[in-house]
Symmetry: C2
Subunit: 498 residues, 2 copies
Amino acid sequence: MSDPVARLHALWGEIADLSHVSSLLSWDQETHMPRRGGAARAQLMATLAGVRHAKLVAPELGETVERCAERAEPGSALAAEVREARRILHRVTRLSERLARAKAEAAAQGHEAWAAARAARDFALFRPALERLVALAREEAGLLSRPGDAPYDVLLDEYEPGARAADVARWLGDLRRELAPLVAAAAHSARRPAARAASGSFPRAAQLAFARDVAERFGFDFERGRLDEAPHPFCSGFGPDDVRLTWRCDEHDFRPALFGILHEAGHGLYEQGLPAAWQRTPLGDAVSLGVHESQSRLWENMVGRSASFWRWALPRFQETCPGARALTHETLLPLLHSCEPSLIRVEADQGTYDLHVCVRFELERALFAGELEVAELPTAWDEAYAATLGLRAGDANAGVLQDIHWSMGAFGYFPTYTLGNLIAAQLFAAARRELGDLDLLFERGEFRPLLEWLREHVHRHGSFYSATELVERASGKPLSSADYLAQRRADAAEYYGV
Amino acid sequence: MSDPVARLHALWGEIADLSHVSSLLSWDQETHMPRRGGAARAQLMATLAGVRHAKLVAPELGETVERCAERAEPGSALAAEVREARRILHRVTRLSERLARAKAEAAAQGHEAWAAARAARDFALFRPALERLVALAREEAGLLSRPGDAPYDVLLDEYEPGARAADVARWLGDLRRELAPLVAAAAHSARRPAARAASGSFPRAAQLAFARDVAERFGFDFERGRLDEAPHPFCSGFGPDDVRLTWRCDEHDFRPALFGILHEAGHGLYEQGLPAAWQRTPLGDAVSLGVHESQSRLWENMVGRSASFWRWALPRFQETCPGARALTHETLLPLLHSCEPSLIRVEADQGTYDLHVCVRFELERALFAGELEVAELPTAWDEAYAATLGLRAGDANAGVLQDIHWSMGAFGYFPTYTLGNLIAAQLFAAARRELGDLDLLFERGEFRPLLEWLREHVHRHGSFYSATELVERASGKPLSSADYLAQRRADAAEYYGV
């Protein structure tokens, strides 16, 4: 009988390759595919998904994992591989092929219905497709849940393995309780950022040159990655040696491109830092969306919006981009730390972002606890926004139809954005304790020590530890909202005097 | 028992999809992959090839094809599908997995050895790898040959299904016999094209804009295709709705980019015209490399180098590209019909190109007839060039090391270039008979009638007919060298007065 570890690596290697191929096709679809190539592309993606699925559910794979389990020493890489492989196979093999297909079809139809509903600004056009998606997700949650699971635990687990809805509810509760008064105080503060300071003429090429330079200075390796224009910013990695970022440009406001690129570069640094030796094994990938998001938010917000970063960056920005010459530290920094309730999550500032997540989490939890039906969502949405952010959307596009996630059946995804904020803050505080005064480094343009710390404590571990363990080991304590809330309070004090 | 036709289409559809995915990854590798992404990409390609191979050799596929054979009416699409599927499966299933792997490895090593040999300008560094490739190709030819086949028939069949070495030898013999005196007469002609007319300042963007416009005017649909810069020009199609051309640019000579793009656009028009209804079946692809090459050469040479095309195009070119303002019909056209022996095939002019193919065909035939050994190749190469083109290479890079084909084990490929010329000329003559005065159309910039004719007689048939049948049906006679030689003679008379 052949060596089960070698066999596991051979079988899993193909599965990992097929995932990377699918990601590459998705990247191509967003960046280069001809306009009319969509139907054929959907077919290619379906075939790849089918081939990958067949390999995941093949009995030989499950048997090989169990043979590996018998010889895995506790704490070894093999034990971690077995844990990850079992987790992934549990999700895949519990779902019948019928349910997997129904989900894929409902997601395709849901996305179309959502786009049509947005075009008509009419939730009613999306409602039947969303009802179908919710029904299938409820069925899935039922099939996958283990004793003691709430239905929402199961949904969350797809994006943030091991996370519990009760913890997420507690953290989001902390944020709602603590952020709301800061937002209210900021609204009454005499200090207001001058939004027009970000406006001006920022030619595409100059924005790209500056942001690319910063990303490279952060440590993004353009010999193992690239940056392309696309309708929306994202990061795709096909192994650590081929990591691709996208950006989009507003020539009248430099912020979307710059902070979009720094955000995606944060994701990209994680991907480029994943362990080469564990590629094509269950330990080669990022451990969770929350940890992934922590890396993007850390570089975008904790580095990219800091005063010390801008002491280094502003002269460079002004040199590359004449439209930036009117900016000063005094006008720029408040602008990067605005705190003003708004309706659209993806445009929200750092001061209010998590309140948008609170709304979605509470609605999703109610949907899957059976306390809310899809038909009631638009009203519930508007009431939640009124209660949480004090705003009501003028139409469904600025309200319940704004996000793409539900149209694809992605329930349980939103909390990972806030988990990213919490993890980023906790990691950053730990790095600061260990590395000393990061501001002194940033104002000299030195970001490598921070990157090396993240490489050492986060990136190189791949999926060896669970996200929970990883954060605790890296920061010395279990995840909480404390460090993030301390940052929010410090920003409010600094920029709004509250 | 399920419907075998539906089953064939399901099984073959996945195989076709996997081919398209591999092509897309190759395109990406040439155009966008980060510099250090090569090793991971090779792994993705190997996995895809392995998955596709496993699907081709799965017993169910062969059985399904035979069940379809039982119910296929002669002359039906199903009968053609069975014929094509059997042909492809014959090649795949006869080769053991050992031989398939050995070929793939030898090709990878061969390519590396070839690159190293070129860097050192030393054939000796390539020789062992080439000997291995030839040995494997001889073994393959032995396994695949049917009664009555010459070994070279089997090699040719991979690129030009159904072609026979004896026919190719006859046609190439015609060309050698008839072209050699034309080349000699041109060399003694008082008329010489003024090569400097093509030199000047041709900015990249202007060259691209003009060539793109022409390709679009020919009928290339940029909603179902695109054009990117790459180290060498090629065309990849992933179904008719996603066809990608590449180009490269010389800002001092407009010819490589323009004729490269028109050539690849000819390939692309064929790909975009392949039958949508037969996609993902054995009939959905181009029928042969010779027919494919006929489409590129027809648009590049018979249209793109014609006086009537330039009556329409030159004013446009001059408008887009100031460097072209010094060109006149009188200086330009002789330049596009030069006839001068040279050492490098890919840089050869139309008047001498096929003589380069003659050399390669004769050497390959001798290699596989056991009349020549790899060690003797450099000398045989130089002697053949001296005899055929009257030139001797200064070093191996301009001689036996110039082409990439052998380094990848592609023996039997070169003749398809000349077949492309013959087929193009024969199709063009037939189109001219049916459509009347094409020059009158071209000088008005009307290329659609020609494209429609090719769509009707070539493109829409996919692989329904064999290449031989397709050419005979489209042109009304079996393939011969007559139309092509008539063109060569007419050009020599027009541009060299011989």
